[in-house]
């Protein structure tokens, strides 16, 4: 006898609950602000009224209430016992203090000089996340991730434009899992995976001509992440004086190619 339920719809059996509010087995789905953020960040068009960077700011405001800090700390602590290099990185607790002037004092064409020019020419700031004193391991990891994000653009080959973001995003998403416990990777990469995939989704929905370039950027990021050492622990600031290729070699970055995503990124209305 033919099953009357369509093939794709089979197998579902609703589970009831005593909860008076919407709940599920996912801590992420249970957060209404994250549901709302996700729908907006993945479905909306780009526009000058609401910068895409603002979405990231809002996301981290939501996630700080979702993160299981106790578990993340326990996993970081366990990883430090397993991996001396990670332990030393935390123990040293290096935090950047350089200024734009410091960057521009490096030789023309060097890693640091290029970053300095980018900051100066665009009127940007070095600290995309305000400087703070980390109170635990995850906060230190997050502080350093914020401090090195723009530098990772240069090192991994991702341009300073919206589709160029996909390169450092996917580099981290392919690199951290090579060195850290999978559960920890999942807990600390929520922002990365949501931040990255919203760009793929919105390019596919609204900026079709740029979609192949978005995929190319994704692949470039994955390639760098898979081949490079744990660059997110390295002190990039020590390589500011070096030409970019040498800086990459010094910092263990392998497989980077400089992908020009600038024209494709202009299809995103806010950057046109």
């Amino acid at each position: 006898m033919t099953d009357p339920v369509p093939y794709l719809a089979r197998g579902g059996t609703a589970i009831t609950t005593e909860s008076t509010t919407l709940v599920s087995s996912s801590v992420y789905l249970n957060e209404p602000r994250l549901r709302d953020w996700l729908a907006t960040a993945f479905l909306r068009k780009s526009g000058k009224d609401s910068p895409t960077t603002h979405d990231a700011y809002k996301l981290y405001g939501i996630l700080k209430d979702v993160f299981d800090i106790e578990r993340i700390e326990a996993l970081f602590t366990a990883e430090r016992k397993r991996w001396p290099e990670l332990d030393a990185w935390f123990a040293q607790g290096f935090s950047s203090r350089f200024s734009v002037e410091d960057l521009l004092a490096n030789p023309d064409g060097s890693f640091g000089h290029r970053f300095g020019r980018y900051i100066r020419d665009n009127g940007f700031e070095i600290d995309i996340v305000p400087r703070f004193v980390p109170r635990n391991q995850f906060e230190y990891f997050s502080l350093r991730s914020g401090q090195t994000h723009d530098l990772e653009h240069i090192l991994t080959g991702g341009g300073f434009d919206i589709l160029g973001e996909l390169v450092p995003y996917f580099a981290r998403l392919s690199n951290l899992p090579r060195f850290l416990d999978p559960e920890l990777v999942g807990l600390i990469n929520v922002g990365q995976v949501l931040g990255a995939l919203r760009l793929i989704s919105r390019t596919g929905l609204h900026y079709h001509a740029a979609f192949p370039m978005a995929l190319a950027a994704m692949r470039c990021g994955m390639t760098v992440g898979e081949q490079s050492g744990p660059y997110w622990m390295r002190q990039f600031e020590d390589a500011f004086h070096l030409p970019i290729d040498q800086a990459r070699a010094e910092l263990g970055i392998v497989g980077a190619i400089d992908l020009d995503t600038s024209a494709a990124s202009l299809t995103w209305t806010e950057y046109a």
């Binding site: 794709l8 789905l29 549901r35 709302d36 603002h54 559960e183 990777v185 807990l187 994704m218 992440g225």
Partner: protein, 284 residues
Amino acid sequence: MTEVPYLARGWMPVETPSSVLVSSSKYLNNPALREWLAMILLRRNGPDMPPPAEMYAFLPIIESLRDHDHIEAMFAQERRVNPALDAWFNTGFISSYTIEDFAQYAPGTLGGIFHAQMTGGNYDIQIVPFAAPQSQLQFYNLRSGQTHDFEHILTGGGFNFMGELVPYWYRLTNVFKFIRDPELAAELSMLQIFGSLRYTVRTMLHYPQVWPTCVNAIQRGMRVGQDSDALFLAKLEDYFHLPLEEARAALGVRGAVDVNTDDAGAFWAERGPLPDTLQKMEAA
């Protein structure tokens, strides 16, 4: 005055006389799509809602958002400049095979592999019920449904939830390569854009142990899509009798790598234990 944080700057809200939530995006304006997307990206897997049921819920939503007149006009225009697509429509081939028809093919052939898969599990041959196509889009979708399982085999994506990523990302790459109008290519890729997101976001959130399997499958799919001919326009039925590698060569499928993701897929779906050996994050 409190300084606005760096990342929060530049927000300039636009007002509207609309009494209900609106935006400039037709996708964001659809409450059902907002709800569906948040659910499928953030939820865990569970037997109460298998992944195929998510797509069943999605199909009427995306259908309600399609501008069919515009899509048909884009197809008509594309056919004027894309002879391969025009010939494909003019031929208008539709399969009428049954599972029994595949018993004739030797093991290891494209048809034989399909037969073994279909008779070994509880699968229907048509995942979308047949209806005679009334438009170019309906023909495209019908053929996509008829060839999906063969695309799994040809692109190297196993019949499991991680293997699903390979044909998804093959299409996301290959359709954009061979359809010249990117807006039409995107319109034809809506199922893949939305469907594939589940397997990436949800993997990192809840099943990070198989994230390397996920990334590897995405890369394999993209490579096949980039390196291969327009498989989605091919009449696969003429190649059922060929051994898999010969079928791939004859159809211009290049770069396919077969990776067994059965255990990882079962773990992702919460239908199996954590695999003893996890795939490493390395070049695909």
